[in-house]
């Protein structure tokens, strides 16, 4: 069930009406959990047991961590949780990747081995809900939050349907307190949520799905197309992935907000970033802050000499790339971003002569989250923006390409403007990129942020109904699944 489908509308309407008509918090949570499981089962009901198992295990581990004072035993419980959660991801997402890579490596060593891959279906959202789940046990282990005594709360947190399958990756410390207090409808920002949902819908259904056919056409057989087509397709993919993922996030945040819950910010105009560190403070913030707190800092973070910090950045970004899927293209994508972060850090230290900024952001909403990299102004700012955007687009090649061979062909076209192909995608479509760029820029300056709050609720309701009718004109007849569902 996708947020952009008609059936989701009916599903959410039922969730919303029943939820707010229930008086006590426990009944509401039971209802939410039930609906979340129905939502998940709409894809594949068999994997529901995996989700339930993950919730039950982490609830139990949380309780045991609260009861046990012995540091060794506590570590043991945490390791159990990590092993099971990471083992689940490893089996479903990486088994085939590791097996096939091992076979290639052995063959390279002259030891050909016939290792069998399995026909594994990846459970939707497994990377997201296991990260939710792990954040709970790690925070309880670290003493950052107390273990929750209600399994309902833990199950609701992990399975909350708006954010279960593709984030944002909400921290237990942020979401569980919301679950424990009765939400009031009068506190819900309904108008803001509805506008956010419409914006997310437009991003996903109109823009991302609109450019997707052109992108698919190019990336399926890049060698057939000209270098200009490569540029267009890569720019389109940059638009597609941003609009697809941030559109999903907007709709997820809006749905949660309509139910009285606040999810974490996940995107903050990433394509306006003027360096790669700033990009990671603006792109998939909930993942990058998760990686910072649960990976980058534990492996050493900014402590130590610059080579040690560079190593930490590279480990974090390579694993961050691998988190997206079992393919070398993702690893390269993460590695390229890691490299850029290291280079940027050195640039700040040597050329600008200042303390390097943090490579990854803090938890959105927390006091240390706002320590953004100060943006540059003037012509150098434009140059910095162009270089950052070019680099980000270049890395998208590896994120999107089906294999390394095709990625190489595309990269050659994009960087050296060389391609053996003669087919043209129609470079005039570049006006779409320009138009969306202007809108992104204006939106980044908050031009559209509040005018729709003026006017009576009746006028807003009528305008909203009409706006939705117009938006439907611009969506393709068939929806494409959200890109991040595969992760």
């Amino acid at each position: 069930m996708l947020f952009v489908e008609f059936r989701f509308f009916w599903f959410f309407l039922a969730v919303f009406c029943v939820y707010w008509s229930l008086r006590d918090n426990r009944s509401r949570k039971i209802w939410l959990l039930l609906c979340s499981y129905v939502f998940y089962a709409a894809w594949n009901w068999k994997f529901l047991f995996l989700l339930m198992g993950s919730s039950a295990l982490d609830y139990f581990v949380g309780l045991m961590l609260a009861r046990t004072k012995n540091p060794g035993a506590r570590r043991g419980w945490l390791i159990l949780s990590l092993c099971v959660n990471l083992g689940t991801i490893a089996f479903f997402k990486y088994y085939n990747f590791f097996v096939s890579s091992a076979a290639v490596f052995l063959a390279w060593l002259g030891l050909p081995a016939s290792l069998h891959t399995l026909n594994i279906i990846i459970p939707v959202g497994v990377s997201f809900y296991t990260f939710h789940s792990m954040s709970y046990t790690i925070d309880v282990y670290r003493g950052k939050m107390r273990a929750v005594t209600s399994i309902l709360d833990v199950a609701c947190f992990i399975g909350f349907f708006p954010q279960m399958v593709a984030g944002p990756i909400v921290r237990a410390a942020q979401f569980l307190p919301q679950l424990q207090s009765l939400r009031k409808f009068s506190n819900a920002d309904v108008r803001g949520a509805l506008v956010l949902f419409l914006v997310g819908f437009v991003k996903k259904a109109c823009i991302a799905d609109g450019v997707a056919p052109t992108v698919d056409k190019y990336f399926d057989s890049p060698a057939n197309y000209t270098a200009a087509s490569a540029w267009l397709a890569i720019l389109f993919y940059g638009i597609q992935i941003y609009c697809d993922f941030s559109g999903y996030t907007d709709m997820a945040i809006a749905c949660a907000r309509l139910l009285g819950y606040e999810l974490t910010l996940n995107f903050n105009f990433p394509y306006l970033a003027r360096n790669v560190a700033e990009f990671w403070h603006r792109w998939h913030i909930s993942l990058s802050s998760w990686l910072r707190d649960y990976l980058y800092i534990p492996v050493g973070g900014n402590r130590g000499n610059r080579w040690f910090v560079a190593r930490n950045i590279m480990i974090t970004m390579l694993l961050g790339g691998l988190w997206h899927g079992g393919a070398w293209t993702f690893v390269i994508w993460g590695g390229l971003h890691g490299l850029a972060l290291v280079v940027h850090r050195e640039w700040q230290r040597r050329v600008e002569g200042r303390a390097p900024s943090r490579p990854l952001p803090g938890v959105p909403g927390s006091p240390d989250a706002t320590e953004d990299v100060p943006p540059r102004r003037g012509p150098f700012g434009w140059l910095a923006w162009s270089l950052t955007f070019y680099w980000v687009c270049f890395t998208w090649i590896f994120f999107r390409a089906a294999d390394l061979e095709r990625a190489g062909v595309i990269a050659k076209s994009f960087v050296f403007w060389q391609s053996p192909g003669t087919h043209d995608l129609g470079f005039r479509m570049i006006w779409i990129v320009v138009l969306l760029g202007v809108i992104h820029q204006l939106n980044g300056r908050r031009v559209f942020s509040s005018w729709w709050r003026r006017g009576s609720p009746e006028v807003f309701a009528a305008g909203y109904g009409c706006a939705f009718a117009v938006v439907l004109l611009f969506i393709p007849p068939h929806y494409a699944p959200f890109i991040y569902f595969q992760f």
């Binding site: 009068s186 920002d189 309701a461 109904g465 009409c466 009718a469 004109l473 611009f474």
Partner: protein, 363 residues
Amino acid sequence: MMVDPPRSEFSPGRGVLNVGIAALAFLLACAGLNASLPFPEIDFVSRNLRFFRQHRDDFDTVFIGSSRIRHQISPAIFDRTMRAAGFPTRTFNLGINGMVPPEDGYVLERLLSAKPLHLRWVFIELDELETKRVPATEGTRRSLYWHDPKRTSLVLREILDAGHQESGFALREIGELALPGPGKSEARDLLFFHGALFAKNFTNVGRKIDLSWWFSHLWKEEALSKDLGGNGDGYVPRSRKMSTAEVVVYETELKYAVTHAGSRFVSASTEVAYRQLAGEVRKAGATPIFLVTPLTMQIELGFRPESGIAGTVMRFNNARVYPQLYRNEARIDGSHLNGEAAEEFTRLVAENFSQLRRENRIQ
């Protein structure tokens, strides 16, 4: 980033009112857009309709139906035969592959909305309402564009009426469909299928494509469509020989059909569809004639006397009366004739029609 919203006490009554306003605005906007958007660009359909619209006053006779009309009625031969019989006509073939009821009704209404001044005769291929999914067009705009309220209600009614002789919605049937169970799963699936297509069509999902097409063709002179055939009258003959295996299948099927020949009425919903269609044709000042082409099926389709459909039915699906149309050499498959036989069939239609007119037996 959101600005802090003004908080106010929630009033359920006002909330419901606002939801109602939003829903009403949405429906009105959809209906308004639906009415004002250009006709969708559908393969074969749109070009042929545009051609007819441009030459609407040139024709007084129209044949409408599926490939059995498109490949089997030659306007040139029909007009020649009619002229020889003393009833000159100017005919256009609006047969479109796969166009069966109720899609043909939708297209016919669009044709009549062009207000052709001299239109006198409309030959409509008689067939049952089609409710099944058509794999060839599923997921395309062809399966979507005709799902207006009138056509969708007819299809839904046909699904609900299936297996019932009496007309009208059977409450018990609706109840059975609402309950889970394997018995009605196909009907349930079809109801959802057509309901979803109606919703998509009504809400104009993806119709930006029609706007772009319209804008891009605003100043373009359209070339004569190849879909209209060599003469530009809509007739496209087909020539193909059946293989030995196909001949065996055809002969077996025909033999079976001949031994099981008989007559029956079309379904209640089909009658409703044709009653509406006949009414529209008559309102436009023309006369509807229902035509059954030389199918393998040897059943005489007709309307119940109480159906109130005033329209002559001309049937050619009788291998005993029209053996020349059922020879192996005359056919390309069980439903279609080759070019030579199609011309023979056209002549027979014209001769029978002029005979009926001479005898003043056209209703």
